[in-house]
């Protein structure tokens, strides 16, 4: 199913350039940075989920042994509420500041209140106990619909629902409405209507590396930050804003990053470490522990999604209505809008009405998590698609094919789709041997599909040629899943030289050109575009050097097999890249090329997953016994890492479906704050995850790339739930499908 074009390097599977360091322990991650004279800082966190801070007395802590500085929100400038660009998406800088250190109120259990820098982590922790904070407890609201109620405890007295009351503050921070056609007429014409409500719990991205930073402020007012992040330039922008600094005074150097999945696109520690370093004149290191990660970073929204779906007897969708409520955590900004835009995006539906609600409540502020908002929406919609297919007596993939969007279809979120590969992906799933394999007792199969937009944004790349003809390619895009290998493959293909001659680097904010975050499945697409463009500039330059050397016109020089050739001049021997590089001094100086761009035309990605489970009717335990992820990549640059994205996303989705959930007590205290109880999938929970890479090239990218990282987490929730339904005969609309919940449903049957 590959494209016909023959490439030498694109689509091959070489060993990743950073691999050797990562299998030997040599690679430096966030917590691996140490500096002479370094202090360690720790954070005091709120014991209440909602309370007024009446006073903070830090005097005893300040005079404690080994303590050099204590910090609270009073050490940061008071920011006005202002939406600003900070890399990936808009952020309210005041909320960002108040999430880093609470101001006036604490809004969730674990909310940071103060920080202490001391000569050791142990002394810093001891000093935290000496900080006296007086709180006035407030009522806690944890559930989305409770927070939307008229008499709900209000988190922010100055937050009003747009278009709602201007006098009465509300926890509903934003609303969205997407209508099309006439739903009353549509449902009236429907032969079958199904309506159900679905809920998903708060879940965490679950990266294995906790957040970590080391910061050092110089006497000249320049701050150095080393941290694990998906976007160094976002760390720079956010830290500058929160501390009132100029971005030019901050240098952010990325460490290797031990997983992010969206959650390392914001800052929690960096401004605190910089401020404490400024206060003490010493480098300051901060490393979260797992409990802090789970209590106060990440998670993604819980959701309450109600969908009504109408179809005609010939298997066409005719009407749909959706109400999508997402919990944002303590500050506005759940992925409600992309959820609303995704929920019906895969199908042609003439009449629909989508309403979305962004609701604040006393849980940590959500952060992006892989296709933000889409998995919950797809859980609801795809579950109903499966149920509708059953009612229509249609094969579930056939039913989807009858309604699938294709080029020219008007997406539910407004525009017409350009070239997309949903139909091809569905056909590949239908043809896969897994789809028709026999099943045993207590086993069932389910399918689910997923859609994500993918994004472009800003990227830069620089290529420096060494005098031997080998090259270094520098970008500022964090490598979270093997993107350095992809960058090297682009350069190898464009320059027509060996992959082994290329060293790809992820550099700091002062040495690399601006790059937005690695997120939204944009790096191979957009930073790849910048790398391709820089490579083309370099080839043009090398052709010019050859033309000068030969004394002929540049138009008579072509580039083939890593060398300049003059096809019309038989006496000119090819000039290899190494030869051009060696004599570069004599033809105009060192060879270097750059490119920067705002990438446009990101191609939507569609995926179809097939899941087989076996349910133990005695215990309610579900085992995934076979799983296949099929997705349109546009073009797979390094297929192993594309497969890896499909597999990893699928397994995060399986965890979301079967086990993962934040469990709170009624005071808003998270009960499962470690990996033992926040149960992510482990190796013996799973089978191999088969993959099929469909390639319907994205015409907007020089190699046809679509993003691949987000889509794989979208289909599994419904695929797993449907497989459970077919195995156990119970339709679960509330995740996770944990053994006690499933057992209760089976017993109630």
């Amino acid at each position: 199913m590959s494209t016909n074009k023959d490439y030498k390097w694109i689509g091959t599977r070489p060993i990743r350039p950073d691999g050797a360091d990562k299998v030997t322990g040599r690679a430096a991650f966030g917590a691996d940075k140490n500096l002479p004279g370094m202090l360690h800082a720790k954070i005091l966190r709120s014991p209440f989920a909602h309370a007024k801070i009446l006073s903070i007395d830090t005097s005893a802590a300040e005079s404690a042994s080994g303590v050099l500085a204590v910090m609270t929100s009073a050490d940061m400038p008071d920011l006005a509420s202002e939406m600003g660009e900070a890399g990936e998406s808009a952020v309210d800088f005041r909320d960002l500041s108040h999430n880093i250190l609470a101001s006036g109120k604490v809004l969730y259990h674990g909310h940071a209140v103060a920080a202490v820098a001391a000569t050791s982590a142990k002394l810093a922790l001891a000093a935290l106990k000496l900080i006296k904070v007086e709180y006035e407890e407030l009522p806690v609201v944890l559930e989305i619909e409770d927070a939307m109620a008229d008499d709900a405890p209000i988190l922010h007295e100055d937050q009003f629902t747009p278009g709602g009351s201007k006098d009465k503050p509300s926890n509903v921070a934003a609303k969205m409405k997407l209508p099309r056609g006439d739903i009353d007429k549509g449902f009236a014409e429907a032969d079958i209507i199904i309506e159900r409500e679905f809920t998903t719990p708060t879940v965490h991205q679950g990266y294995i590396e906790p957040h970590a930073v080391t910061a050092s402020m110089s006497a000249s007012g320049h701050a150095d930050i080393w941290c694990c992040t998906q976007g160094t330039f976002v760390v720079r922008a956010m830290t500058a804003k929160v501390l009132g600094m100029d971005v030019g005074k901050i240098k952010v150097t990325p460490s290797e990053i031990g997983g992010g999945f969206g959650a390392k696109t914001t800052v929690y520690l960096e401004p605190i470490a910089v401020k404490l370093s400024e206060k003490t004149g010493r480098p300051v290191k901060m490393v979260m522990d797992r409990e802090e990660v789970l209590r106060a970073t990440g998670p993604t929204s819980a959701s309450v999604i109600k969908i009504k779906l109408g179809a005609t007897n010939d298997g066409k969708l005719i009407a749909a209505q959706g109400s999508l409520k997402y919990g944002a955590g303590a500050f506005k900004g759940s992925p409600m809008a992309p959820g609303c835009m995704c929920v019906f995006a895969s199908y042609e539906i003439p009449n629909f009405l989508i309403r979305g609600f962004d609701v604040v409540l006393n849980k940590p502020k959500v952060a992006a998590y892989r296709a933000p908002g889409a998995p919950m929406a797809a859980f609801a919609m795809e579950s109903l698609m499966n149920e509708m297919a059953t009612k229509l007596n249609l094969d579930p993939i056939e039913f989807r094919l009858k309604n699938a969007v294709k080029e020219g279809s008007v997406a539910a979120y407004g525009p017409k789709f350009p070239v997309i590969g949903f139909v091809e992906t569905l056909e590949a799933a239908k043809a896969h041997p897994h789809y028709s394999a026999p099943l045993g007792k207590n086993q069932g199969r389910g399918v689910g599909t997923g859609f994500w937009f993918n994004i472009g944004m800003q990227s830069s790349a620089t290529i420096n040629v060494n005098e031997s003809g080998s090259v270094t390619v520098i970008t500022g895009s964090a490598d979270i899943g093997g993107s350095r290998a992809s960058m090297a493959l682009f350069v190898a293909e464009e320059l027509d030289i060996s992959y082994d001659l290329i060293t790809p680097l992820v550099s700091n904010t002062e040495e690399a050109g601006y790059c937005d975050v690695t997120g939204g499945s944009r790096t191979t697409f957009a930073t790849g575009m910048a790398v391709v463009k820089a490579s083309k500039n370099l080839v043009a330059n090398m052709r010019k050097r050859a033309a000068k050397t030969w004394g002929i016109d540049i138009d008579d020089v072509t580039w083939e097999d890593g060398a300049a050739i003059a096809p019309a001049a038989a006496d000119k021997q090819p000039l290899t890249m190494a030869q051009i590089a060696t004599s570069a001094a004599k033809t105009g100086g060192p060879l270097t090329a750059s490119a920067s761009l705002t990438a446009q035309g990101a191609g939507a990605g569609f995926g179809v997953h097939i899941c087989d489970v076996e349910v133990d009717p005695e215990t309610g335990k579900t085992d995934v016994i076979r799983y296949t992820a099929i997705q349109d990549a546009g073009k797979a640059i390094h297929p192993s890492y594309v497969e890896g994205q499909y597999q990893g996303g699928a397994v995060q989705g399986i965890g979301w479906a079967l086990n993962e959930e934040y469990v709170y007590n009624d005071k808003g205290v998270l009960q499962n704050f470690g990996f033992l109880d926040y149960r992510m999938p482990v190796a013996n929970d799973l089978p191999m995850i088969d993959t099929v890479i469909v390639e319907v090239p994205n015409p907007s990218h020089p190699y046809g790339v679509r993003g691949v990282g987000e889509t794989p987490i979208v289909p599994p929730l419904a695929a797993v739930a449907e497989a459970v339904n077919n195995a156990a005969g119970v339709r679960i609309c509330h995740l996770p499908i944990s053994p006690p919940r499933l057992l209760a449903e089976i017993d109630a049957k």
Binding site: M83, E88, S89, A90, G163, M176, K177, L178, P179, Q205, G260, F261, G262, A263, T265, P335, A337, P338, M341, A368, Y369, R370, A371, P372, A411, Y413, G414, P415, K416, F417, P418, W452, F453, N454, I455, G456, M457, Q458, G519, G520, S521, R522, T598, Q600, G601, A602, S700, G707, G709, E710
Partner: protein, 81 residues
């Protein structure tokens, strides 16, 4: 002329208008024209939204050329994980 269709949420800024025709050759001109008709609309779109031209999403750009007859739609900016 360009065919500009407005999402429901944008229609609230334009007195319920669902679509309009605009003469523009790039995104900057398009937003300027919208700002003339509905003061503040162009600025709001530039800050908060992405522009789709015949279905292809353009985010954070003013210079993208637009061919005559194109279909324009605005969607919230997309982020991602």
């Amino acid at each position: 002329m360009l065919q500009v269709d407005l999402s429901f949420d944008l229609q609230q800024f334009c007195g319920g208008l669902e679509s309009l025709k605009v003469q523009a050759t790039n995104i900057r001109e398009l937003l300027e024209q919208l700002d003339i008709r509905f003061p503040g609309l162009g600025a709001k779109i530039e800050k908060e939204m992405a522009v789709t031209i015949n279905g292809v999403i353009y985010q954070d750009t003013l210079i993208e050329p637009i061919e005559d007859g194109s279909e324009i739609y605005f969607i919230p900016k997309i982020g991602g994980g």
